[in-house]
Amino acid sequence: MTTVDASLPQPVQRPASDSENYLTHAHGFLSWAFTLDHKRIGVMYLASTLAAFLLGGMLAMLIRTELLTPGQTVMDADTYNNVFTLHGAVLIFLFLIPVIPAALGNFVLPMMLGAKDVAFPRMNLLSYWIYATGAIMLLGVLLTGGLDTGWTFYTPYSTTTNTSVGLAMLAVFVLGFGNIFTGVNFITTIHKLRAPGQTWSKLPLFIWAQYATSVIQILATPVLGITVLLIFVERTMGIGIFDPNLGGDPVLFQHFFWFYSHPAVYIMVLPAMGVISELIATFSRKPIFGYKAIAGSSLAIAIIGFFVWGHHMFTSGQSTLAGTIFSFLTYAVAIPSAIKVFNWVATMYKGSIRLDAPMIYALSFLWLFGIGGLTGLFLGNLGVDLHLHDTYFVVAHFHYVMVGGTLAAFLGGLHFWWPKMFGRMYNEKLARVAALMVFVGFNLTFFVQFIAGTKGMPRRYFNYLPEFTIYHQISSIGAFLTGLAFFVILYYLVVSLIKGRPAPANPWGAASLDWQTTSPPHPHNFTSDPVLIGPYEYSALMWNEEIGGYVLRPEVAARAGHGQEAQA
């Protein structure tokens, strides 16, 4: 451990463009295509997942346009089935699952641990290229006959339809492999590459969330892998495992599928909760309330999440015994999520809350995930689920949790780490307007679907009874508004890359180690040894006017002498 010469003022932040950083130290396609730098791989993941999000969003607009009127509006039934299937598959497998762990996580996790890179950089690059291959295969489905099975691929429909389910199965298998490699990388990095003195209780909660997510990815993704492999083998060679025409059992497929897919929804929401813990604490200038409770509930959600998959199958002919077990455990898994929300609200008590764009996303997360989580209580209930299963109530529920939860937290995290990633500040006012547009548009789109769902509007309906028209029209208007908001976000973020104000090292005053390096960071992350302060010890930072950002207090920076750490 070299001693840090604290008396020298922090190196003045030269404008990001020409200082030695990970973006500028190498140029050309090869320097990106074969980079081992976790930051570049994070940026590549970010670009690919945003492209997938855009495609998924277009498909969403198509669906909402089609549903404006009961009968055929713009496309026929088969095209509609293809559109909603791809909307689900593209957004889940190409955006929601990889985005926060692989895009933000890859960039931020090693720096939060004070490490130079993830444990296996080559595997990290391999995981990106596996993701890209899987994405190309999944989108290749468009050319080879489409996919009309729904993202759940239920047999015997998926084994008897003539759309290109085989290719989609291989794509999902390949994407699963990509997730497993990211999971292996993160778990090993968090265990083995922490900064000296950074015990488990000094890790930012974003790291805890990534750890819990990686545990789920390791334990759940292989079962999806074997399931899609069996479907592929069943379609090509006629081996009867899930297809009742060949003596198989379709409900067994549902057990296999949901054994992965329920933990998969926790793969999507846990990293989002990690981001929210960082945002709410930073923008309230208050240490997080109940650190151990939040970290513990991340792991609790990860583990109990494996016991509840049967609540997707209450009406599927699953036995009452299994249904009762699953309903009871589903209620058990609701408790850790509730505890987290209470802890976030308690964190804001007596804070100094700044309503920057990331905080607006965090607050809208509280509202949207609140509704999403609470409506899960209806669906986990044996009696009520018989009425609500596979209706628009379910559609609204998972959009509230996935879009309201994961997407809002991702946008919050993206705005939060944008200065660090690209060394530029985005246009704050426009960002706040866009955040409010997303919030209002989203509620307009999906709250009305709860009502349609309880009235009995079934899911995945191309043509619906005239009574439901009003619900669909309101929802479609909301969808267009939300779509517009995303274009506004895309606009000012791209503009900020060119004309944005150069960003200081720590614009928001966050206390995790990744903010103690320049923006954008040095290829090896840290030019000088980061000072290990508590992940939420905001008192150790002070506002520095001429830099326009926060810096370590001199006495804290001095404390970074030989081997001493500041108390958390």
Partner: protein, 319 residues
């Protein structure tokens, strides 16, 4: 461990060329490698776990099929295969030990013998597959009934009785096909085409005499089943047991080929990895200070052996 741009870290990176830049000490790199490999092995265990679950479910649903089908699996060949894999596991472990002690020639010898073991395993597997391929013991629609010695009149209800009653006491025997033959009323061409198991609602009566009920026995539930025939004598000769072939035997072979096929694929991948490590040990890359690749490939090979240790009794030794 994060060393800034200070001079110290470069020093011990030069003298330890195999130490990758982002690790601080060789021990950290070694432990990270082993740790990451174990996490990856967890995914392999869960991948095969899914197949073991399918095995367990279908054995519970059709115990007589599994008992019947295992008659066609050669236990001796399976046993020999198990021994082959165990020996190659030993030679792999000895190879890892040789790498740790820096005995290059022993390492190369051991790795080569392990490769031979893998090839031997695949050879025996090929023999077994070819035998099944010829006998038509395949999956789904390709399955050719083995009781062809006794022409199974198509559409003759009732002969598919589950004579080889299940030995597995835990599962109740399968209820036989619907007893009354409503197809008699239909023209012969229709009767021939009609799958016996498709419920025939028209004027159907299930069960006879006083318990004629509206719905096929399955709909009524366990009480609707007729008493099973008496279980066959234990020492019955093979011929009679083959003649009474239960239905859906293809299910067993579907699972058999998926499980052993995926395992064989993993053996091939393992052999490729061992080949790569053999190539690098020929180049003399490994010694007491750096042998992680050998150790990791050894772990993978032992896992492949571990999976076969469970596959063998479950598929071959079914009583």
């Amino acid at each position: 461990m994060n060393h800034g741009a200070g001079a110290a870290p470069e020093l011990h990176h030069e003298e330890r060329p195999e130490l990758q830049p982002h690790f601080e000490t060789p021990e950290q790199q070694f432990e990270s490698g082993k740790f990451g490999m174990w996490v990856f092995l967890a995914t392999e265990i869960l991948l095969f776990g899914g197949l073991f679950c399918a095995y367990a479910v279908y054995r519970a649903l059709h115990p007589e099929v599994f008992v019947y089908a295992s008659l066609f699996l050669d236990r001796v060949l399976g046993g020999i295969n198990t021994l082959v894999l165990i020996c190659s596991s030993l030679t792999m472990a000895l190879g890892v030990r040789a790498a740790q002690l820096g005995q290059r020639r022993l390492l190369i010898a051991m790795l080569s013998v392990t490769l031979l073991g893998g090839a031997g395993f695949l050879g025996i597997k090929y023999v077994e597959y070819e035998h099944k391929w010829k006998a038509g013991l395949l999956w789904g629609t390709q399955y050719r009934s083995q009781a062809d010695g006794h022409a199974l009149e198509h559409g003759e209800p009732g002969t598919h009785g589950t004579d080889a009653a299940s030995h597995d006491g835990s599962a109740p025997p399968e209820p036989p096909a619907p007893a009354a033959d409503p197809r008699a009323a239909l023209p012969p061409a229709a009767a021939a085409a009609l799958p016996p198991s498709v419920p025939i609602p028209e004027g159907r009566t299930f069960g006879d005499g006083e318990n004629a009920s509206l719905l096929p026995p399955a709909a009524i539930g366990p009480t609707g089943m007729r008493a099973p025939e008496p279980p066959p004598a234990a020492g019955e000769q093979l011929e009679r047991r083959i003649r009474h072939e239960p239905r859906n035997v293809h299910l067993f072979f579907g699972i058999y080929f998926v499980m052993t096929g995926l395992h064989a694929l993993h053996v091939i991948v393992g052999m490729a990895l061992i080949g790569y490590v053999l190539f690098r040990s020929l180049r003399g890359d490994f010694g007491p200070r750096y042998f992680t690749p050998v150790d990791i490939v050894g772990l993978y090979w032992h896992l492949v052996d571990l999976i076969w240790i469970f596959l063998f009794p479950l598929l071959y030794l079914i009583e």
